[in-house]
């Protein structure tokens, strides 16, 4: 990245809709912001299923211990899972370096491997035939996506790979300095 753009914190206001957004395979692509690509799904929980959802937290933690690289193709920074409004509503928020439209099918497959799909089955309106009906899955996700109207990046547009590379470089330098003692 040129000019050390990552040194200057930056915010971006996002309109509700824009004709300027690039059209992807499944609809408009929400723009990249200083906080990279974002993705927030909010949906109602099927009554009585909140505990089922909560229990998946532990399962997911274990699944990722077993194969930590499982979500690598999605180029993620963070995922946040929230139950709120007295466990009647659910929020799933991800920060990615890739936009969701491009890697939709990868996401569905990886959600499957990580058990996320089964969490979604506890949400009101989630298509029961999602396994054979990718367009219905995508439609659900797009209908429940809530756009940010403002996003902020302390180190804008920096990707997870760049952060990891920088840390590896720092470690390598430390090692080099150790060897020179």
């Amino acid at each position: 990245m040129s000019n050390h753009e990552w040194m200057t914190p930056k915010a971006k206001a996002i309109p509700k809709e824009s004709s300027e957004w690039e059209q992807g395979r499944y609809g408009p692509v929400w723009p990249k912001t200083p906080a990279c690509y974002g993705f927030t799904i909010i949906a109602d929980v099927i009554p009585g299923r909140a505990e089922t959802i909560r229990n998946y937290g532990v399962k997911l933690e274990e699944a990722l211990k077993g194969s930590p690289e499982i979500l690598a193709p999605l180029k993620l920074h963070y995922l946040r899972w929230v139950l709120f409004d007295n466990d009647t509503r659910f929020m799933y928020q991800g920060i990615f370096d890739t936009d969701f439209d491009k890697y939709t099918e990868d996401a569905i497959q990886l959600f499957g491997l990580a058990g996320v799909d089964t969490v979604f089955e506890n949400l009101v309106g989630f298509p029961t035939d999602w396994k054979t009906n990718a367009p219905a899955f995508i439609k659900f996700v797009r209908e429940h996506q809530c756009n940010s109207f403002l996003e902020y990046g302390e180190y804008p547009f920096v990707s997870a790979d760049e952060i990891k590379k920088a840390l590896k470089l720092k470690a390598a330098f430390s090692e080099m300095l150790d060897q020179m003692q």
């Binding site: 499944y26 690598a72 193709p73 491009k102 099918e105 990868d106 497959q109 054979t132 990718a134 760049e162």
Partner: protein, 443 residues
Amino acid sequence: MLELDDIQHYLLTRPHATIAEYVFVTFKNAESGRNWIASLLDTVGNAKTVMAASDTDMRWVSMAFTFNGLKALGLDEESLSTFPEPFRQGMAARAAMLGDTGANHPDHWEDHMASPDLHAVVILFARDKAEKERCIAKHQEYLHQNPGVQVLSTLHLEAIPPYDYVHEHFGYRDRITTPVIEGLGIEPSPGSHPPSKPGEFFLGYPDESGAIVPLPKPEALTKNGSYIAYRKMQEHVGAFRDYLKANGKTVEEQELIAAKMMGRWRKSGAPLVLSPDKDDHELGFDDSRNNMFDYEKMDPHGYACPVGAHIRRMNVRDNSVSQIMHRRLIIRRGGTYGPHLPDDAPEDGANRGIAVFAGCADISRQFEFLISVWANDTGFEELNERDPFCGLQDGTLDMVIPKRPIKRRLKNIPAFTNVRGGAYFFLPGISGLKYLATLNVKR
């Protein structure tokens, strides 16, 4: 098990043909269109007979239809609405998403490819010129009998010299890697993808998800069918050779740059991962070895095969990039059009290139993903590059060749190719063709 006697041979076999002709037609009225299909039906080979037949049985015709074509033939609105959106919209309407902008925009397409009047394509294969002439003359007869079917354009395809290996105009050896379908008794070459479930390419069969995706209606039309996405890519051979000369002092260096952009050596197809410094003819032509490599373990930084090389973008072989590569496969069919430009000849401005069909069961997941993301997404592996051959290039992007101690940068990659046309077709099974031939006619 695949119903081979009901599937058109096109995606499953390769007749021993050196010549082909694409004939793009429009239907002025439905009845003529249906009669025309009926008259050609006997020449459309199914996969079973073409696979088994001797070269004397040359029923090598294939027929496919655009969404507008199905509409023009009289398919009812309710059925039409069950076809997937990309097919209903057509390739030209999805150009911006595919990256077909600038010089590749449908406004510049040839052969009436962006026209709503494009209704069908007939693909004729022939063993030689005389046989092709006979086929075309016969087709003329059918057209004469059905004046409501009119030819919009034709494209002649023919292998180019040297004839001892299959290659395109830039000289790259072609057809090294192709998907294998489960249940046909064909073993994939070592290192290639395991056999695909039939539903990845043919409608009505389980795909890699294990399920059968519901068919568009009516099933009598769509069972055993496939989608084939057409791309006509002009190849600017002079510009390509000039670029190699400008970036390589010696012939060897030029050949290395050509290989770095592709990921395989031009004349043999030997993969750079296995032979990074020089071509290895024997390796390239040895199917037991020419796909026996990965990137993740053998070449993680791209010192042998750059991360932005064509084959590394289009077939990623790397779990951290994609865990669903088996859901992104296409069966490629097609060949070269236009005159051969000899090695020592200057650019003559002739229109030459490749005209290919990509066979799949899901246009968006398979074909459109490959073009819009792996070919054209500058964010792919954070390279800020596009595919040097099938991505949109206008001289503003570079390509990095990883190298110790310091990477090399191929500056300002020009457009070696331009998209000159494209369309989405549905390739029905044999009974699907019969359904169309008798549509709205009392059975």
